[in-house]
């Protein structure tokens, strides 16, 4: 075509005009730290595995969990999922049901017998004392890194407090066993009925290069109550242990549980299942202050457990207990009022917390114990070279998830130690807080309700109370994830750029800015649903 001068132009010729020079600020793709990941004691990359799960890539999602935590099926039941409390979606409608999806993935793995292979052998050997969640977690991570691991366990079964203090209705044993079995299948040796009384001796006996101690806090705290009669006073930890061993437990008649933690409720709920006439939890502060998880309290109340808060038991009489009413002072501390009343009781169960038995460390040079806990640095190293400690015996929240996190952390440290390296702490990304999100783009999607066993059926047996998500529901929940701070390839930046200055690299490859043309308007930043684009000033 013989085109008229200047009036008629060849298409696309404006590419010669590099409008990027107009820019005073530039957009940059970032990965921010999702609040769920930030919150997870086990350090799970929750957003990442939900991202995989929402595409139906369940095995990959499960493997993503397994990079941090070898117990998705256990976590999906006993974890108190503080990630959900932190979830940004909570402000929009309701938090994503992370825990339910995790259980789904864990169960999928068991159903399809997905396995994790041990790493190439390093020739190093590590001793782990205690086959609870911390010890097993540590053993697993070490095995993945190719180290030979021997776990010494004093009980006749592995699982620690998950087995011995969480009733079956919360933690079906076949799942627990399956997840432990998977670790054993990786080559981890678990020696049961092998209590360690002298750690130095054990280390010397087993000839290992490093040690992780996670023996747990299994000794119920006792309280000497003035007693004038025969009301049996039992230890909650022992009851739960007996339950696990299917030994007879005297939870009949009117069962009074003294304490406000999860263990107290586990006992109270077990009492309901065993046919107690009454199951009453007595706690000296308010219900809000109870350390037990909300869901635990809620489910207990649904099952008929009753509460008496702001009460201390002061005396055990003949079929009755004397309780004093408490009041909160200005600081929120309970104070005596002198007012008393009586509670009819068949059995009193003390659930006042547990202590660790740290006798095995007494002869270890450099290991210090204070207030019943092992002193460790931020990397869980004890004062003794080559010895790490974790789980309930170190100062931290006491729950399975924290313990699993300890196991992983210790394993990483041990691995670095064995390789003669110093582990560099990864830079912690900026938090993907709600203000960085543009939640308009997420469809309205209320949370899926996990099926709950009817109260009538629950109270008559030890069937699992909280049901599973079916696949559709799990997928739905996974897809409710907003992928906070991490690009999920929604194409918004690619679409909303008035200057076509975003290059789409293809599925899974995310995007790049074309700074030749980006004018720095910031629309992509405003409209990024998940806050994965940052704005930085240009050097002028």
């Amino acid at each position: 075509m013989e085109k008229p001068f200047a009036i008629t132009l060849d298409v696309g010729s404006s590419l010669a005009n590099k409008t990027g020079s107009w820019r005073t600020h530039r957009p940059v793709y970032v990965d921010r730290l999702p609040p769920c990941n930030n919150q997870c004691p086990a350090g799970e990359n929750v957003q990442a595995w939900l991202y995989l799960a929402e595409e139906g890539r369940y095995e990959e999602a499960w493997r993503k969990i397994m990079e941090e935590n070898p117990f998705p099926a256990i976590m999906g039941r006993v974890c108190y999922h503080t990630c959900e409390t932190a979830c940004n979606r909570g402000a929009l409608d309701e938090a994503v049901g992370i825990n339910g999806v995790e259980r789904f993935l864990g169960d999928q793995a068991i159903k399809y017998q997905w396995r994790v292979e041990a790493g190439a052998p390093t020739g190093k050997r590590v001793l782990v004392v205690g086959a609870g969640p911390a010890g097993l977690s540590c053993a697993y991570h070490l095995a993945r890194r190719g180290h030979a691991v021997t776990v010494l366990e004093g009980s006749d079964k592995a699982g620690g407090m998950v087995r011995y203090s969480i009733p079956k209705y919360r933690m079906p044993r076949e799942k627990l066993n399956a997840e432990i079995r998977r670790i054993v299948d990786m080559g981890v040796e678990i020696r049961l009925n092998s209590p360690v009384e002298d750690l130095c001796a054990a280390i010397a006996h087993h000839g290992c290069d490093a040690t992780f101690v996670a023996v747990g806090a299994q000794r119920g705290r006792h309280l000497q109550l003035p007693s004038t009669a025969r009301v049996p006073v039992l230890d909650a930890v022992q009851i739960l242990r007996d339950l696990e061993r299917e030994e007879a437990v005297p939870l009949r008649g009117r069962v009074i549980v003294y304490g406000g933690g999860n263990t107290a409720f586990d006992v109270a709920r077990s009492a309901v299942r065993l046919g107690a006439i009454e199951s009453l939890v007595v706690y000296r502060r308010t219900r809000e202050k109870m350390p037990a998880h909300r869901s635990e309290i809620r489910e207990a109340l649904e099952e008929g457990v009753t509460l008496r808060c702001l009460s201390t038991i002061t005396h055990v009489g003949d079929g009755v207990l004397t309780a004093e009413r408490m009041e909160l002072d200005a600081k929120g501390q309970p104070q005596s009022t002198g007012e008393t009343e009586t509670i009819v009781a068949t059995t009193l169960v003390l659930a006042l917390g547990q202590d660790a038995d740290l006798g095995l460390l007494s002869g270890v040079p450099g290991v210090r114990v204070a207030d019943g806990l092992v002193e460790v640095d931020r990397n869980l190293a004890t004062g003794a070279v080559g010895i790490w400690a974790g789980g309930d015996i170190v100062p931290a929240d006491r729950n399975a998830t924290v313990a699993i996190g300890h196991g992983k952390k210790a394993a990483r440290q041990i691995d670095a130690f064995l390789r003669g390296e110093v582990l560099r702490r990864p830079v912690k990304h900026e938090l993907a807080s709600a203000d960085k999100m543009n939640t308009w783009y997420y469809s309205d999607a209320p949370r899926a309700i996990r099926p709950i066993l009817e109260a009538v059926r629950r109270t008559s047996g030890f069937a699992e109370v909280v049901g599973d998500y079916d696949e559709g529901t799990a997928l739905y929940e996974a897809r409710r994830c907003m992928s906070c701070g991490n690009c999920f390839e929604c194409d918004n930046c690619y679409g909303v750029c008035p200057d076509n200055a975003v290059i789409k690299l293809g599925p899974g490859k995310r995007f790049e800015f074309n700074y030749d043309y980006c004018k720095g308007c910031g629309v992509c930043i405003s409209e990024c649903p998940c806050g994965a684009i940052a704005r930085i000033p240009e050097a002028i």
């Binding site: 013989e2 008229p4 001068f5 200047a6």
Partner: protein, 417 residues
Amino acid sequence: MLKQTEGSHAVAEAVALCRPEVICAYPISPQTHIVEALGEMVKGGDLARCEFINVESEFAAMSVAIGASAAGARTYTATASQGLLFMAEAVYNAAGLGLPIVMTDANRAIGAPINIWNDHSDALSMRDSGWIQLFAETNQEALDLHIIAFRLAEELSLPVMVCMDGFILTHAYERVDMPAQAQVDRYLPAYEPRQVLDPRDPVSIGAMVGPEAFSEVRYLAHAKQLQALDRIPVLAAEFAAIFGRESGGLVHPYRTEDAETIVVAMGSVMGTIKDVVDEMRAGGAAIGALGICSYRPAPLAAIRAAVEGAKRVVVVEKSLAVGLGGILATDVRMAMSGLHLHGYTVIAGLGGRPILKSSLHRLFERAGRDDLEHVTFLDLNWDVVNRVLDRERAVRRSGSIAENVLRDVGVTSTPGV
């Protein structure tokens, strides 16, 4: 084929023979008969493969034409007077974009006061628009010029305006020789656009051009018109070879060879002038006439060649540059620059005022004696004009001049002041 028909209809038939593909129509006298006839031909199926679009204004008519032409269709429209002015912006645009649209202008005066009769004010107001403007002397030439116009327009990728006097030609029944389709097809090849909107080869037409290139664009438009000066005589010669008659060209000299007085004019008045020239020649006067067919591009060299042997030039034009005098005359003066000739400007036939043979006789006789003002208003009613001027000198007031003139002429019933 010879036939006795109305000028408008003859033009419509000629346009149809050119196989137009898009025709836009908006009614305005005295152009309406042309598009009416074309509309009938399209609707009746005589003109196949043609879109006839009834638009809502002349501005739209030219705009539709711009779109159609840019998309590669042979496009035609017609207008007059206020219509041409209403589309003025688009008229310039069509030329600027180099779109070979052909348009008939049935020449008519411009208001206020509103006047539907003939003069050349409309066409001449568009003299700088970049369009080629050809003026027809007769209905025969009018229809011939449309055939030439399509050829010229498409060769140069420029729009062409064929001007024919409103009513005097458009509504006159005359004998015309209507060409055969085969003749027209031989003369006018299929339209091959220079630039076209087509998804197969996309371009952007109508860029914004800044100071860095605008002068060049304008010069190229000028150069294209100069190119047309070469092409117009060639196309007229080819036309004569195929159709067997002279039509078009730059200028039409009539008995100018030894003329001392040469009358220059455009359009149908040339017929009356030729009669007068014949009569005066019979009386021994050395007078001739020069018809301008190509007003734009201005055939300065051809005009100069025709008049340089004469003693005087009388430009009779149906237009007035208010505050200056002649419009055509200014162009003719430019052609004459350096020549020592008397030049007279005669403003005649405004708003349909008949140009009478008797008046022209008197005028040319006076011119022959060099007894003319530089600018003469033919057959002006000086009584009326002077009365108004006298009064306005006495009383300072605003108001419609037209109303006052009518009052003086005695048409309105309002008593005079």
